[in-house]
Protein backbone atom coordinates (compact mmCIF):
# COMPACT_ATOMS: atom_id res chain seq x y z
CA UNK A 1 0.00 0.00 0.00
CA UNK A 2 1.23 3.53 -0.75
CA UNK A 3 1.59 5.90 2.22
CA UNK A 4 -1.26 8.31 2.93
CA UNK A 5 -2.34 10.89 5.48
CA UNK A 6 -5.35 10.07 7.60
CA UNK A 7 -7.91 12.68 8.63
CA UNK A 8 -11.12 12.12 10.59
CA UNK A 9 -14.05 14.37 9.73
CA UNK A 10 -15.90 15.53 12.83
CA UNK A 11 -18.49 17.66 11.04
CA UNK A 12 -19.95 17.94 7.55
CA UNK A 13 -17.82 21.04 7.05
CA UNK A 14 -14.68 18.83 7.21
CA UNK A 15 -16.13 16.27 4.82
CA UNK A 16 -15.58 18.03 1.50
CA UNK A 17 -11.85 17.87 0.90
CA UNK A 18 -11.35 17.53 -2.84
CA UNK A 19 -7.75 16.41 -2.33
CA UNK A 20 -8.81 13.49 -0.15
CA UNK A 21 -10.47 10.15 -0.72
CA UNK A 22 -13.43 9.33 1.49
CA UNK A 23 -13.31 6.09 3.44
CA UNK A 24 -16.41 4.54 5.03
CA UNK A 25 -16.49 0.75 5.64
CA UNK A 26 -13.21 0.44 3.77
CA UNK A 27 -14.09 -3.01 2.44
CA UNK A 28 -13.66 -2.03 -1.20
CA UNK A 29 -11.25 0.89 -0.98
CA UNK A 30 -8.68 -0.86 1.24
CA UNK A 31 -8.78 -3.98 -0.91
CA UNK A 32 -8.03 -1.81 -3.96
CA UNK A 33 -5.33 0.13 -2.08
CA UNK A 34 -3.58 -3.10 -1.13
CA UNK A 35 -3.44 -3.97 -4.82
CA UNK A 36 -2.30 -0.38 -5.53
CA UNK A 37 -5.18 0.03 -7.96
CA UNK A 38 -6.25 2.98 -5.86
CA UNK A 39 -3.43 5.15 -4.50
CA UNK A 40 -4.92 8.06 -2.54
CA UNK A 41 -2.43 10.25 -0.69
CA UNK A 42 -5.03 11.36 1.86
CA UNK A 43 -7.92 9.44 3.41
CA UNK A 44 -10.89 11.23 4.90
CA UNK A 45 -12.68 9.06 7.46
CA UNK A 46 -16.35 10.07 7.50
CA UNK A 47 -17.56 7.27 9.79
CA UNK A 48 -18.09 9.57 12.79
CA UNK A 49 -20.64 11.71 10.96
CA UNK A 50 -24.37 11.60 11.69
CA UNK A 51 -25.41 9.53 8.69
CA UNK A 52 -26.31 6.28 10.42
CA UNK A 53 -30.10 6.57 10.69
CA UNK A 54 -33.00 5.10 8.74
CA UNK A 55 -35.82 7.65 8.99
CA UNK A 56 -39.37 7.52 7.81
CA UNK A 57 -40.62 10.72 6.19
CA UNK A 58 -43.80 11.51 4.32
CA UNK A 59 -43.96 9.22 1.28
CA UNK A 60 -40.36 8.16 1.66
CA UNK A 61 -37.70 6.50 3.73
CA UNK A 62 -34.32 8.16 4.15
CA UNK A 63 -31.33 5.87 4.57
CA UNK A 64 -28.17 7.54 5.91
CA UNK A 65 -25.05 6.92 3.81
CA UNK A 66 -23.33 5.21 6.76
CA UNK A 67 -26.13 2.72 7.49
CA UNK A 68 -24.41 -0.64 7.18
CA UNK A 69 -25.62 -3.21 4.69
CA UNK A 70 -26.33 -5.50 7.67
CA UNK A 71 -28.47 -2.93 9.52
CA UNK A 72 -30.34 -1.97 6.37
CA UNK A 73 -31.16 -5.58 5.50
CA UNK A 74 -32.36 -6.27 9.05
CA UNK A 75 -34.36 -3.08 9.51
CA UNK A 76 -38.00 -4.01 10.30
CA UNK A 77 -39.44 -1.34 8.01
CA UNK A 78 -37.22 -2.34 5.09
CA UNK A 79 -38.02 -6.04 5.63
CA UNK A 80 -41.71 -5.35 5.68
CA UNK A 81 -42.11 -2.89 2.80
CA UNK A 82 -39.00 -3.18 0.68
CA UNK A 83 -38.30 -6.92 0.94
CA UNK A 84 -36.51 -6.88 -2.40
CA UNK A 85 -33.87 -4.55 -0.92
CA UNK A 86 -33.32 -6.76 2.14
CA UNK A 87 -33.07 -9.77 -0.16
CA UNK A 88 -30.55 -8.11 -2.48
CA UNK A 89 -28.37 -7.07 0.46
CA UNK A 90 -28.52 -10.49 2.06
CA UNK A 91 -27.52 -12.09 -1.24
CA UNK A 92 -24.29 -10.07 -1.25
CA UNK A 93 -20.92 -10.61 0.43
CA UNK A 94 -20.85 -12.13 3.97
CA UNK A 95 -22.04 -11.40 7.49
CA UNK A 96 -18.68 -9.84 8.39
CA UNK A 97 -18.51 -7.65 5.28
CA UNK A 98 -22.12 -6.50 5.56
CA UNK A 99 -21.42 -5.32 9.11
CA UNK A 100 -18.85 -2.86 7.70
CA UNK A 101 -20.09 -2.11 4.19
CA UNK A 102 -22.00 1.17 4.07
CA UNK A 103 -24.85 2.32 1.86
CA UNK A 104 -22.71 5.02 0.22
CA UNK A 105 -19.68 2.77 -0.21
CA UNK A 106 -21.77 -0.02 -1.69
CA UNK A 107 -23.07 2.31 -4.42
CA UNK A 108 -19.49 3.30 -5.24
CA UNK A 109 -17.84 -0.13 -5.18
CA UNK A 110 -15.80 -0.76 -8.28
CA UNK A 111 -15.93 -3.47 -10.92
CA UNK A 112 -14.66 -7.00 -10.37
CA UNK A 113 -13.23 -7.25 -13.91
CA UNK A 114 -10.13 -9.49 -13.55
CA UNK A 115 -7.96 -7.13 -15.63
CA UNK A 116 -8.98 -4.11 -13.60
CA UNK A 117 -7.60 -6.05 -10.62
CA UNK A 118 -4.37 -7.08 -12.39
CA UNK A 119 -2.04 -4.08 -12.48
CA UNK A 120 0.31 -5.84 -14.92
CA UNK A 121 -2.40 -5.71 -17.63
CA UNK A 122 -3.79 -2.84 -19.69
CA UNK A 123 -7.21 -1.58 -18.61
CA UNK A 124 -8.92 1.59 -19.79
CA UNK A 125 -10.75 2.01 -16.53
CA UNK A 126 -7.63 1.81 -14.36
CA UNK A 127 -5.27 3.47 -16.84
CA UNK A 128 -7.18 5.52 -19.41
CA UNK A 129 -6.09 4.79 -22.98
CA UNK A 130 -4.12 1.65 -22.18
CA UNK A 131 -6.60 -0.73 -23.83
CA UNK A 132 -9.08 -3.35 -22.71
CA UNK A 133 -7.85 -6.88 -22.19
CA UNK A 134 -11.28 -8.20 -21.30
CA UNK A 135 -12.75 -7.72 -24.75
CA UNK A 136 -11.02 -10.82 -26.08
CA UNK A 137 -9.94 -12.30 -22.78
CA UNK A 138 -11.57 -13.68 -19.67
CA UNK A 139 -14.90 -11.88 -19.74
CA UNK A 140 -17.20 -14.49 -18.23
CA UNK A 141 -18.51 -12.13 -15.54
CA UNK A 142 -18.62 -9.03 -17.75
CA UNK A 143 -21.37 -7.03 -19.43
CA UNK A 144 -23.57 -7.56 -22.49
CA UNK A 145 -25.59 -4.32 -22.39
CA UNK A 146 -24.58 -0.65 -22.20
CA UNK A 147 -20.93 -1.36 -22.96
CA UNK A 148 -18.57 0.48 -25.30
CA UNK A 149 -15.58 -0.59 -27.38
CA UNK A 150 -13.43 0.71 -24.52
CA UNK A 151 -14.88 -1.20 -21.56
CA UNK A 152 -17.30 -4.04 -20.86
CA UNK A 153 -17.12 -4.01 -17.05
CA UNK A 154 -20.19 -4.61 -14.89
CA UNK A 155 -21.17 -2.80 -11.73
CA UNK A 156 -21.06 -5.56 -9.12
CA UNK A 157 -23.51 -4.29 -6.48
CA UNK A 158 -26.61 -6.26 -5.53
CA UNK A 159 -28.02 -3.46 -3.36
CA UNK A 160 -27.92 -0.93 -6.21
CA UNK A 161 -30.04 -3.22 -8.41
CA UNK A 162 -32.84 -3.23 -5.85
CA UNK A 163 -32.50 0.52 -5.36
CA UNK A 164 -32.78 1.11 -9.10
CA UNK A 165 -35.93 -0.98 -9.11
CA UNK A 166 -37.37 1.04 -6.24
CA UNK A 167 -36.68 4.41 -7.96
CA UNK A 168 -34.32 5.39 -5.16
CA UNK A 169 -32.71 8.82 -5.17
CA UNK A 170 -29.21 9.60 -4.00
CA UNK A 171 -28.73 12.73 -1.88
CA UNK A 172 -25.35 14.35 -2.42
CA UNK A 173 -23.96 17.21 -0.35
CA UNK A 174 -21.83 19.55 -2.47
CA UNK A 175 -18.76 21.32 -1.02
CA UNK A 176 -20.80 24.52 -0.56
CA UNK A 177 -23.33 22.55 1.51
CA UNK A 178 -26.11 22.51 -1.10
CA UNK A 179 -27.91 19.27 -1.84
CA UNK A 180 -28.12 17.48 -5.16
CA UNK A 181 -30.61 14.67 -5.72
CA UNK A 182 -30.00 12.11 -8.45
CA UNK A 183 -31.71 8.91 -9.57
CA UNK A 184 -29.42 5.90 -9.89
CA UNK A 185 -29.77 6.20 -13.64
CA UNK A 186 -28.47 9.77 -13.51
CA UNK A 187 -25.81 8.87 -10.96
CA UNK A 188 -24.08 6.09 -12.91
CA UNK A 189 -22.45 6.85 -16.26
CA UNK A 190 -22.02 4.43 -19.13
CA UNK A 191 -18.40 3.85 -20.17
CA UNK A 192 -18.40 5.42 -23.65
CA UNK A 193 -14.91 6.80 -24.34
CA UNK A 194 -14.22 7.45 -20.66
CA UNK A 195 -14.70 4.23 -18.66
CA UNK A 196 -12.71 5.69 -15.77
CA UNK A 197 -15.51 8.22 -15.16
CA UNK A 198 -18.09 6.10 -13.43
CA UNK A 199 -20.51 8.41 -11.65
CA UNK A 200 -21.79 11.97 -11.56
CA UNK A 201 -19.98 12.54 -8.27
CA UNK A 202 -17.50 15.43 -8.35
CA UNK A 203 -14.42 16.12 -6.23
CA UNK A 204 -15.42 17.13 -2.71
CA UNK A 205 -18.92 15.64 -2.93
CA UNK A 206 -20.30 13.58 -0.08
CA UNK A 207 -23.16 11.10 -0.40
CA UNK A 208 -25.31 11.72 2.67
CA UNK A 209 -28.37 9.52 2.08
CA UNK A 210 -30.51 7.43 -0.22
CA UNK A 211 -34.24 8.11 -0.38
CA UNK A 212 -36.76 5.39 -1.18
CA UNK A 213 -40.18 6.51 -2.39
CA UNK A 214 -43.27 4.60 -1.21
CA UNK A 215 -42.96 0.91 -1.93
CA UNK A 216 -44.49 -0.09 -5.27
CA UNK A 217 -47.59 -2.29 -5.29
CA UNK A 218 -47.19 -5.94 -6.07
CA UNK A 219 -45.01 -8.90 -5.22
CA UNK A 220 -41.27 -8.28 -4.92
CA UNK A 221 -38.39 -10.61 -5.57
CA UNK A 222 -34.59 -10.69 -5.96
CA UNK A 223 -33.13 -13.55 -7.97
CA UNK A 224 -29.35 -13.88 -8.06
CA UNK A 225 -27.64 -16.45 -10.27
CA UNK A 226 -24.04 -17.11 -9.33
CA UNK A 227 -21.34 -19.76 -9.44
CA UNK A 228 -22.02 -20.99 -5.91
CA UNK A 229 -25.01 -20.60 -3.69
CA UNK A 230 -23.43 -18.20 -1.19
CA UNK A 231 -20.66 -15.61 -1.11
CA UNK A 232 -20.20 -14.92 -4.82
CA UNK A 233 -20.91 -11.99 -7.10
CA UNK A 234 -23.86 -12.22 -9.48
CA UNK A 235 -23.54 -13.55 -13.01
CA UNK A 236 -27.06 -12.29 -13.63
CA UNK A 237 -29.42 -10.88 -11.04
CA UNK A 238 -32.93 -9.52 -11.26
CA UNK A 239 -34.92 -7.39 -8.84
CA UNK A 240 -38.57 -7.29 -9.77
CA UNK A 241 -41.96 -6.13 -8.60
CA UNK A 242 -45.10 -7.21 -10.39
CA UNK A 243 -48.76 -6.58 -9.58
CA UNK A 244 -51.58 -8.54 -11.16
CA UNK A 245 -55.34 -8.10 -11.08
CA UNK A 246 -57.95 -10.43 -12.55
CA UNK A 247 -55.50 -12.28 -14.70
CA UNK A 248 -53.72 -9.20 -16.06
CA UNK A 249 -50.42 -7.61 -15.18
CA UNK A 250 -51.23 -4.14 -13.83
CA UNK A 251 -47.74 -3.02 -12.90
CA UNK A 252 -44.26 -4.33 -13.61
CA UNK A 253 -40.74 -3.16 -12.97
CA UNK A 254 -37.52 -5.11 -13.39
CA UNK A 255 -33.89 -4.14 -12.74
CA UNK A 256 -30.87 -6.26 -13.58
CA UNK A 257 -27.39 -6.78 -12.20
CA UNK A 258 -24.47 -8.52 -13.90
CA UNK A 259 -25.57 -7.36 -17.35
CA UNK A 260 -24.31 -3.81 -17.63
CA UNK A 261 -21.96 -1.12 -16.28
CA UNK A 262 -24.82 0.06 -14.08
CA UNK A 263 -27.98 -1.45 -12.62
CA UNK A 264 -30.06 -1.90 -15.75
CA UNK A 265 -33.71 -1.12 -16.44
CA UNK A 266 -35.64 -1.15 -19.67
CA UNK A 267 -38.91 0.76 -19.53
CA UNK A 268 -40.00 -0.47 -22.94
CA UNK A 269 -39.88 -4.01 -21.61
CA UNK A 270 -41.94 -2.99 -18.58
CA UNK A 271 -44.55 -1.22 -20.73
CA UNK A 272 -44.92 -4.29 -22.92
CA UNK A 273 -45.93 -6.37 -19.90
CA UNK A 274 -48.49 -4.00 -18.41
CA UNK A 275 -52.10 -4.75 -19.31
CA UNK A 276 -51.30 -8.20 -20.65
CA UNK A 277 -52.18 -11.65 -19.40
CA UNK A 278 -49.06 -13.45 -18.19
CA UNK A 279 -47.81 -16.19 -20.52
CA UNK A 280 -44.55 -17.80 -21.62
CA UNK A 281 -44.91 -16.08 -24.99
CA UNK A 282 -45.29 -12.68 -23.35
CA UNK A 283 -42.25 -13.24 -21.13
CA UNK A 284 -40.25 -14.28 -24.19
CA UNK A 285 -41.24 -11.06 -25.93
CA UNK A 286 -40.19 -9.09 -22.85
CA UNK A 287 -36.82 -10.84 -22.89
CA UNK A 288 -36.47 -10.03 -26.61
CA UNK A 289 -36.90 -6.33 -25.85
CA UNK A 290 -34.44 -6.43 -22.95
CA UNK A 291 -31.82 -8.29 -24.94
CA UNK A 292 -32.15 -6.31 -28.15
CA UNK A 293 -28.64 -5.17 -29.07
CA UNK A 294 -27.02 -7.35 -26.40
CA UNK A 295 -23.41 -8.05 -27.30
CA UNK A 296 -21.41 -10.86 -25.76
CA UNK A 297 -17.68 -11.45 -26.06
CA UNK A 298 -17.03 -15.18 -25.89
CA UNK A 299 -16.78 -16.34 -22.30
CA UNK A 300 -19.91 -14.39 -21.42
CA UNK A 301 -22.04 -15.64 -24.36
CA UNK A 302 -24.02 -17.71 -21.86
CA UNK A 303 -25.41 -14.57 -20.26
CA UNK A 304 -27.81 -13.98 -23.15
CA UNK A 305 -29.74 -17.28 -22.79
CA UNK A 306 -29.31 -17.15 -19.01
CA UNK A 307 -30.91 -13.69 -18.83
CA UNK A 308 -33.86 -14.93 -20.87
CA UNK A 309 -34.35 -17.83 -18.47
CA UNK A 310 -34.08 -15.54 -15.45
CA UNK A 311 -36.68 -13.15 -16.91
CA UNK A 312 -39.08 -16.01 -17.57
CA UNK A 313 -38.55 -17.61 -14.18
CA UNK A 314 -38.97 -14.36 -12.25
CA UNK A 315 -42.05 -13.22 -14.16
CA UNK A 316 -43.51 -16.72 -14.02
CA UNK A 317 -43.13 -16.87 -10.29
CA UNK A 318 -44.36 -13.35 -9.55
CA UNK A 319 -47.46 -13.68 -11.73
CA UNK A 320 -48.15 -17.26 -10.71
CA UNK A 321 -48.12 -18.26 -14.40
CA UNK A 322 -45.47 -20.92 -13.78
CA UNK A 323 -44.20 -22.53 -10.60
Amino acid sequence: MKPFDYVRATSHADAHDSAARIIAGGTNLLDLMKHEIETPTKLLDVTRLDMTEIEEAENSVRIGALVTNADLAADPLIRERYGVLSRALLAGATGQLRNKASTGGNLLQRTRCPYFYDTTQPCNKREPGSGCMAMEGRNRILAILGTSEHCIATHPSDMAVAMRLLDARIEIEKPGGEAQILTLDEFYKLPGDTPHEETALEAGDLIVAVHLPDAPKGAQMYRKVRDRSSYAFALVSCAAVVATDRGKITDAALAFGGLAPKPWRNTEMERLLIGEAPSEALFDKAADVLLEGAQSHGDNDFKIPLTRRVVKAVLGELTGATQ
Binding site: P3, T27, D31, E80, K100
Partner: protein, 175 residues
Protein backbone atom coordinates in the same frame (compact mmCIF):
# COMPACT_ATOMS: atom_id res chain seq x y z
CA UNK B 1 0.27 8.22 14.16
CA UNK B 2 -0.52 7.78 17.87
CA UNK B 3 -3.74 6.02 18.75
CA UNK B 4 -5.43 4.19 21.60
CA UNK B 5 -7.03 0.81 21.02
CA UNK B 6 -9.35 -0.89 23.50
CA UNK B 7 -8.87 -4.61 23.12
CA UNK B 8 -10.47 -7.26 25.33
CA UNK B 9 -11.11 -4.68 28.01
CA UNK B 10 -7.59 -3.26 28.06
CA UNK B 11 -6.51 0.03 26.64
CA UNK B 12 -3.28 0.21 24.60
CA UNK B 13 -1.44 3.27 23.37
CA UNK B 14 0.48 2.71 20.14
CA UNK B 15 2.31 4.64 17.46
CA UNK B 16 1.65 3.16 14.05
CA UNK B 17 1.81 3.82 10.33
CA UNK B 18 -1.61 4.89 8.99
CA UNK B 19 -1.51 1.91 6.60
CA UNK B 20 -1.66 -0.66 9.42
CA UNK B 21 -4.81 -2.76 9.33
CA UNK B 22 -6.56 -3.51 12.60
CA UNK B 23 -5.48 -7.13 12.15
CA UNK B 24 -1.80 -6.21 11.76
CA UNK B 25 -1.95 -3.78 14.67
CA UNK B 26 -3.18 -6.55 16.96
CA UNK B 27 -0.86 -9.23 15.66
CA UNK B 28 2.34 -7.24 15.13
CA UNK B 29 2.11 -4.45 17.69
CA UNK B 30 0.09 -5.91 20.57
CA UNK B 31 1.23 -9.51 20.21
CA UNK B 32 -2.35 -10.74 19.99
CA UNK B 33 -1.75 -13.39 17.36
CA UNK B 34 -4.96 -15.33 17.89
CA UNK B 35 -6.64 -13.57 14.98
CA UNK B 36 -5.17 -15.06 11.82
CA UNK B 37 -4.28 -13.68 8.41
CA UNK B 38 -5.45 -15.97 5.63
CA UNK B 39 -6.04 -13.88 2.53
CA UNK B 40 -5.72 -10.25 3.73
CA UNK B 41 -8.55 -9.35 1.30
CA UNK B 42 -11.81 -10.06 3.12
CA UNK B 43 -12.30 -13.41 1.46
CA UNK B 44 -11.55 -16.08 4.07
CA UNK B 45 -12.74 -14.89 7.48
CA UNK B 46 -9.62 -16.02 9.42
CA UNK B 47 -9.25 -12.47 10.78
CA UNK B 48 -12.81 -12.21 12.12
CA UNK B 49 -13.11 -10.24 15.37
CA UNK B 50 -15.83 -8.26 17.11
CA UNK B 51 -15.89 -4.47 17.02
CA UNK B 52 -18.54 -3.03 19.32
CA UNK B 53 -20.11 -6.49 19.39
CA UNK B 54 -20.32 -6.94 15.63
CA UNK B 55 -18.23 -9.43 13.64
CA UNK B 56 -15.98 -7.86 11.01
CA UNK B 57 -12.88 -8.72 8.96
CA UNK B 58 -9.88 -7.20 10.74
CA UNK B 59 -7.86 -7.22 7.52
CA UNK B 60 -10.15 -4.78 5.69
CA UNK B 61 -10.16 -1.96 8.18
CA UNK B 62 -7.51 0.47 9.40
CA UNK B 63 -6.37 0.50 13.03
CA UNK B 64 -6.47 4.32 13.07
CA UNK B 65 -10.23 4.18 12.42
CA UNK B 66 -10.91 2.30 15.67
CA UNK B 67 -10.14 4.71 18.50
CA UNK B 68 -12.94 4.48 21.12
CA UNK B 69 -14.19 1.16 19.75
CA UNK B 70 -14.43 -2.00 21.87
CA UNK B 71 -12.48 -4.73 20.11
CA UNK B 72 -12.84 -8.37 21.12
CA UNK B 73 -10.54 -11.08 19.80
CA UNK B 74 -10.35 -14.79 20.49
CA UNK B 75 -7.96 -14.04 23.39
CA UNK B 76 -10.77 -12.13 25.09
CA UNK B 77 -13.31 -14.92 24.69
CA UNK B 78 -11.61 -17.62 26.73
CA UNK B 79 -8.26 -18.93 27.80
CA UNK B 80 -6.88 -22.44 28.41
CA UNK B 81 -8.67 -23.72 31.49
CA UNK B 82 -11.52 -21.23 31.08
CA UNK B 83 -12.93 -21.90 27.64
CA UNK B 84 -16.13 -20.32 26.39
CA UNK B 85 -19.09 -22.56 25.45
CA UNK B 86 -18.22 -22.24 21.75
CA UNK B 87 -14.57 -23.08 22.35
CA UNK B 88 -15.52 -26.16 24.37
CA UNK B 89 -17.95 -27.28 21.71
CA UNK B 90 -15.30 -26.90 18.97
CA UNK B 91 -13.01 -29.21 20.97
CA UNK B 92 -15.78 -31.71 21.63
CA UNK B 93 -17.01 -31.89 18.02
CA UNK B 94 -13.62 -31.73 16.27
CA UNK B 95 -14.51 -28.38 14.75
CA UNK B 96 -11.01 -28.10 13.25
CA UNK B 97 -8.06 -30.02 11.94
CA UNK B 98 -5.09 -27.64 11.53
CA UNK B 99 -6.85 -24.96 13.57
CA UNK B 100 -5.84 -22.00 11.43
CA UNK B 101 -9.37 -20.87 10.66
CA UNK B 102 -10.67 -21.66 14.16
CA UNK B 103 -10.31 -18.28 15.92
CA UNK B 104 -12.11 -16.66 12.98
CA UNK B 105 -14.79 -19.37 13.00
CA UNK B 106 -15.43 -18.89 16.71
CA UNK B 107 -15.51 -15.10 16.57
CA UNK B 108 -17.77 -15.22 13.54
CA UNK B 109 -20.07 -17.73 15.23
CA UNK B 110 -20.27 -15.46 18.28
CA UNK B 111 -21.31 -12.49 16.18
CA UNK B 112 -23.63 -14.65 14.11
CA UNK B 113 -25.47 -16.03 17.16
CA UNK B 114 -26.14 -12.47 18.32
CA UNK B 115 -27.44 -11.51 14.88
CA UNK B 116 -29.70 -14.55 15.04
CA UNK B 117 -31.02 -13.67 18.45
CA UNK B 118 -31.82 -10.16 17.22
CA UNK B 119 -34.00 -11.82 14.57
CA UNK B 120 -31.89 -10.83 11.59
CA UNK B 121 -32.87 -12.74 8.44
CA UNK B 122 -30.41 -14.33 6.02
CA UNK B 123 -30.41 -15.14 2.32
CA UNK B 124 -32.01 -18.52 3.06
CA UNK B 125 -34.72 -17.27 5.43
CA UNK B 126 -38.14 -17.89 3.84
CA UNK B 127 -40.12 -15.24 5.69
CA UNK B 128 -38.23 -11.96 6.13
CA UNK B 129 -40.48 -10.80 8.95
CA UNK B 130 -40.57 -13.96 11.08
CA UNK B 131 -38.00 -15.17 13.61
CA UNK B 132 -35.64 -17.44 11.64
CA UNK B 133 -35.09 -21.12 12.60
CA UNK B 134 -31.66 -21.97 13.92
CA UNK B 135 -31.23 -24.68 11.27
CA UNK B 136 -28.18 -26.19 9.60
CA UNK B 137 -29.10 -24.39 6.35
CA UNK B 138 -29.17 -21.06 8.19
CA UNK B 139 -25.85 -21.75 9.95
CA UNK B 140 -24.17 -22.67 6.67
CA UNK B 141 -25.37 -19.53 4.92
CA UNK B 142 -24.51 -17.24 7.82
CA UNK B 143 -21.05 -18.76 8.23
CA UNK B 144 -20.19 -18.68 4.51
CA UNK B 145 -17.66 -15.91 5.13
CA UNK B 146 -15.43 -18.34 7.03
CA UNK B 147 -13.56 -20.79 4.87
CA UNK B 148 -11.90 -23.92 6.24
CA UNK B 149 -9.25 -25.50 4.03
CA UNK B 150 -9.34 -28.65 6.15
CA UNK B 151 -13.07 -28.79 5.51
CA UNK B 152 -13.98 -29.33 9.14
CA UNK B 153 -17.43 -27.94 8.34
CA UNK B 154 -19.52 -30.79 9.82
CA UNK B 155 -17.75 -30.39 13.18
CA UNK B 156 -18.01 -26.59 13.01
CA UNK B 157 -21.77 -26.79 12.38
CA UNK B 158 -22.26 -29.31 15.18
CA UNK B 159 -20.25 -27.19 17.62
CA UNK B 160 -22.17 -24.02 16.80
CA UNK B 161 -25.50 -25.81 17.08
CA UNK B 162 -24.62 -27.15 20.50
CA UNK B 163 -23.11 -23.98 21.95
CA UNK B 164 -25.56 -21.41 20.59
CA UNK B 165 -28.01 -21.47 23.52
CA UNK B 166 -25.13 -20.95 26.00
CA UNK B 167 -23.40 -18.10 24.20
CA UNK B 168 -24.70 -15.31 26.40
CA UNK B 169 -23.46 -12.16 24.64
CA UNK B 170 -26.77 -11.83 22.87
CA UNK B 171 -28.52 -10.93 26.09
CA UNK B 172 -25.90 -8.31 26.93
CA UNK B 173 -25.98 -7.00 23.36
CA UNK B 174 -29.75 -6.65 23.48
CA UNK B 175 -29.65 -4.59 26.65
Amino acid sequence: MEITLNVNGESHRLDIDTRTTLLDALRNHLDLTGSKKGCDHGQCGACTMLVNGRRINGCLTLAVMHEDDEITTIEGVGQPGALSPLQKAFVKHDGYQCGYCTPGQIMSAKGMIDEFNMGWPSNVTDDLTAMPDFSRTEIKERMSGNLCRCSAYPGICAAITEAAPDEGTSKEAAE
